[in-house]
């Protein structure tokens, strides 16, 4: 299985807790949990692509053992509900009048997300010889007001199901949730650990690279292992020997060039072309308005502009993003941003 896996990122995915590299204090704590067969609700905090999900999955796998498949669920908080799920939530929220009890004929007002994705799993009894089930919620901070619904869930069904919440921004999580969890900060991998890991992989794949290259990989991937491995694999397409030039070439492919193009054409004042470009990007990468603005922001910050100009641009983007929160049509909001960039380009 490992041999014919064409994607290194998966090939080198750790298979057990002891495989996880360079996170000793965390791992030993998790191993303690497994030994004592008990743990509180957990909250993992760390930046994107750092391995939170991988660690949480492997931990649950080892904790649940043979009963992993039925007692484990991973939920993405940022994936919108489909139409089917929404109608299902609506129909489930109504208690039929034929049922007996005080709830008959009434509406239960649970948020659709919790009603469809969380409740069915949490309410089900544990199957097998384990103390409780495990639910992982990814990108918990994107839940917004739905977080309130979790407060009671965590208490009522806590004995039946423990939750591991993953987040990139702790400030996006309401206090009552934080107080119910044990926090784990997952920092960026230290450089020497990162270096060892890369060397290990490059030995297995018989790649040649020196320390200078590893340093650049660390810089480009911002310490994220999955991204670093992707970068290695793409560089290896050009040959087994990897130097900084090859690395630079392949890292260029990684960046979304379209974003740069959008900003530059908009500065040139070509509105129609820019509109076409950004519509393409939106449909290709499935960004929502907010994510699109973030990407634009990243590009702006790296542009060679004066501080004054950059601040002005950031102000424009922030304003547009703020409006998109309430707006109905993100196409209008983005078009408005682009048209402002057009006039801005003229002033420069």
């Amino acid at each position: 299985m490992i041999e014919d896996n064409p994607i290194w990122r998966l090939k080198y995915l750790p298979k057990s807790l002891s495989d996880i590299y360079g996170r000793k204090p965390l791992i030993s704590q998790l191993k303690e949990f497994i030994k004592s067969k008990n743990f509180p609700h957990l909250l993992f905090i760390g930046s994107e692509g750092i391995g939170k999900t991988t660690i949480a999955r492997i931990f649950s796998k080892e904790f649940l053992g043979n009963y992993f498949n039925v007692n484990f669920k991973l939920v993405y908080a940022d994936v919108p509900l489909t139409q089917e799920e929404r109608t299902k939530a609506k129909s489930e929220a109504y208690v039929s009048t034929s049922k007996i009890g005080s709830m008959a004929g009434k509406r239960i007002t649970t948020p659709a997300f919790i009603q469809v994705k969380i409740k069915p799993f949490v309410q089900l009894k544990v199957l097998g010889d384990i103390p409780f089930k495990i639910l992982i919620v990814k990108n918990f901070e994107t839940l917004g007001s739905n977080q309130q619904g979790f407060r009671r869930l965590m208490e009522i069904y806590g004995s039946n199901c423990r939750m591991i919440l993953l987040t990139t921004k702790i400030s996006g999580i309401i206090d009552p949730i934080i107080s119910r969890c044990q926090l784990f900060l997952i920092p960026q991998l230290k450089y020497n650990k990162f270096e060892n890991l890369i060397i290990k992989i490059s030995e297995q794949e018989s790649l040649e690279l020196d320390k200078e290259v590893i340093k650049s990989i660390y810089r480009i991937s911002e310490g994220k292992i999955s991204k670093a491995i992707d970068l290695l694999q793409i560089s290896s397409l050009m040959g087994n020997k990897i130097d900084t030039n090859v690395l630079f070439e392949s890292s260029k492919k990684f960046k979304i060039e379209e974003m740069n193009k959008i900003v530059l054409t908009s500065f040139k004042g070509d509105f129609k072309k820019t509109r076409e470009l950004f519509r393409n990007v939106l449909s290709n990468y499935k960004y929502n308005a907010n994510q699109f603005y973030q990407k634009i922001l990243e590009v702006i910050i790296k542009l060679p502009l004066s501080r004054y100009e950059k601040c002005k641009l950031i102000n424009i983007i922030g304003d547009a993003d703020f409006r998109a929160l309430d707006g109905r049509d993100s196409d209008i909001q983005i078009s408005s941003l682009i048209s402002k960039f057009n006039t801005f380009g003229e002033m420069m």
Binding site: D4, N5, P6, I7, R9, L10, G49, T53, R57, L74, Y76, D78, V79, P80, K138, N139, D230, Q233, I234, L237, S250, K253, F254, I256, G269, F271, K272, R275, R279, N280, L282, S283, N284, Y285, K286, Y287, N288, Q291, A320, R323, D326, G327, R328, D329, S330, D331, I332, Q333, S335, S336, S339, K340, N342, T343, E346
Partner: protein, 461 residues
């Protein structure tokens, strides 16, 4: 504007012809030959039902024959040729295309099933609404003789864009196996409807002649006991509306409720009434940018149009850059439009309908009147809004199954796949064919999904 008295029933509805006999029939052309719609339409409908009956009988025979024979000898079902199942009426608004269909149906004691541009006409929507009626007969048909039906697809030229995807093929499909005659109506000749034009006869309907308009109007004015409209005004109204009978009637009704104004004032009122007529969206957008001069005019234009504002402001969004070229003006226009959008979002979110006037004035008047420079003159094509935000996260079936297959091997979320993983896979497949093969073998992809990895790759370049 003078005070308006309470309207009674619109004359357009009140005097909508009940029968084809008391209707002024517009002249029409088929393949550049003059034809009479009074003869052609009933002929078409009768022909249709006669032939359909024959074909249904034959098909039944074929079906019984097919049941007891070998696979090889099976006969194909007979289909009615498309040109006998559907026709297209084309002409400017308000000349009686829809009315003639309704009047005819009334005469022949039939029911009309109508869809128009206000319905979304995706493949699914059309199918669910029309196909069932088109193919089948109701249960009651077996018990008693029920009304026959005519399918009227109004405003066909409004079909466009992602919102109505698949509508044209559905209509063509429909016309092949329909149980009822189909009549399509359209205002303009459209390229994207080419496939429709090829397969069905197209009647060009001309506006009514002045004499006929006079006749109708005089009859109605007499019935309504209106005497305060002088000949001069009448002429002005008729000339202004260019054969649009619906517009003329609306104008007259409004004018009949105003009394005792000086001739000059009346003239002004008539000219302002002009914009009150229901116009199609193209001319609204065009007028908004090219002929509106005051905020009030913009208001009357948007208020009195029967186009949904929900819809209109997306049209404005799409067409802003075609009409406003100056960058400064464009950016202020978009500024207003984006605020209007924000206001609209708040209205919908908190049900604060009291904010609606601001939305109206901002998106129409505010946007159209921002230009400081000259009006962009000359004919410009108005585009349909092509982009709908709600569908930005909707996936087609190939994408869906690709995602499922990836998630089986590697549990990451949809958004991560699109933003992070898929671009990476594309870089790998880009480098060599062998990699693509390896990857598709590993994920067990079919040709369509494999194409997805490749196709986006070419569009990236």
């Amino acid at each position: 504007m003078a005070k308006k008295k309470i309207y009674d029933i619109p004359w357009v509805e009140k005097y909508r012809p009940k029968s084809i006999k008391d209707m002024a029939i517009p002249t029409a052309k088929l393949n550049r030959h003059k034809v009479s719609l009074v003869e052609e339409l009933p002929k078409f409908i009768n022909n249709f039902f006669n032939q359909k009956e024959m074909i249904n009988k034959k098909n039944q025979e074929i079906r019984t024959f097919n049941r007891n024979c070998l696979e090889k000898e099976k006969k194909k079902k007979i289909e009615l040729p498309q040109e006998k199942a559907a026709i297209l009426l084309e002409g400017q608004p308000g000349i009686g295309k829809t009315s003639i269909v309704y009047a005819l149906a009334n005469d022949l004691n039939m029911e009309v099933i109508e869809t128009n541009a206000s319905d979304t006409r995706t493949r699914d929507a059309l199918e669910s609404k029309l196909k069932e009626t088109a193919k089948s007969k109701g249960i009651m048909d077996f018990i008693s003789e029920t009304k026959k039906k005519i399918i009227l697809i109004d405003e066909v030229d409004g079909i466009y864009g992602t919102k109505d995807r698949g509508a044209v093929p559905t209509i063509i499909d429909l016309s092949k196996n329909t149980q009822f005659p189909i009549i399509l109506c359209a205002n303009e000749y459209k390229l994207n409807l080419q496939s429709l034009y090829n397969s069905i006869p197209r009647y060009e309907v001309n506006p009514l002649s002045k004499d006929e308009v006079y006749k109708i109007i005089n009859r109605i004015l007499k019935k309504e006991n209106v005497e305060n409209i002088i000949q001069e005004d009448l002429e002005l109204i008729i000339n202004k509306n260019e054969g649009d009978l619906r517009g003329i009637l609306n104008d007259l009704q409004a004018l009949s409720q105003i009394s005792n104004e000086s001739p000059d004032e009346r003239k002004k009122i008539i000219m302002s009434l002009h914009r009150d007529t229901t116009k199609e969206i193209f001319s609204i957008v065009r007028d908004l940018f090219q002929s509106v001069n005051t905020l009030n005019e913009a208001r009357t234009l948007t208020n009195k149009s029967d186009v949904d504002y929900n819809f209109l402001y997306k049209w404005i969004n799409e067409n802003l850059p075609t009409f406003i070229q100056n960058k400064e003006d464009l950016s202020t226009a978009f500024e207003y439009l984006s605020i209007a959008d924000e206001i609209f979002g708040r209205i919908k979110k908190n049900m604060q309908w009291s904010l609606l006037p601001y939305f109206y004035d901002l998106f129409a008047g505010g946007v159209a009147l921002t230009r400081k420079g000259n009006i962009s003159k000359g004919y410009r094509t108005v585009n349909f809004p092509r982009y709908s935000t709600s569908s930005s996260f909707s996936l087609n079936t190939a994408e869906k199954s690709l995602i499922e297959k990836i998630q089986e091997k590697y549990p990451i979320s949809q958004s991560e796949i699109f933003r992070d993983f898929l671009p990476f896979l594309k870089i790998i497949t880009e480098s060599s064919r062998r990699n693509l093969k390896n990857l598709s073998d590993w994920l067990d992809l079919n040709a369509k999904e494999k194409n997805l990895l490749k196709k986006t790759q070419t569009s990236k370049k």
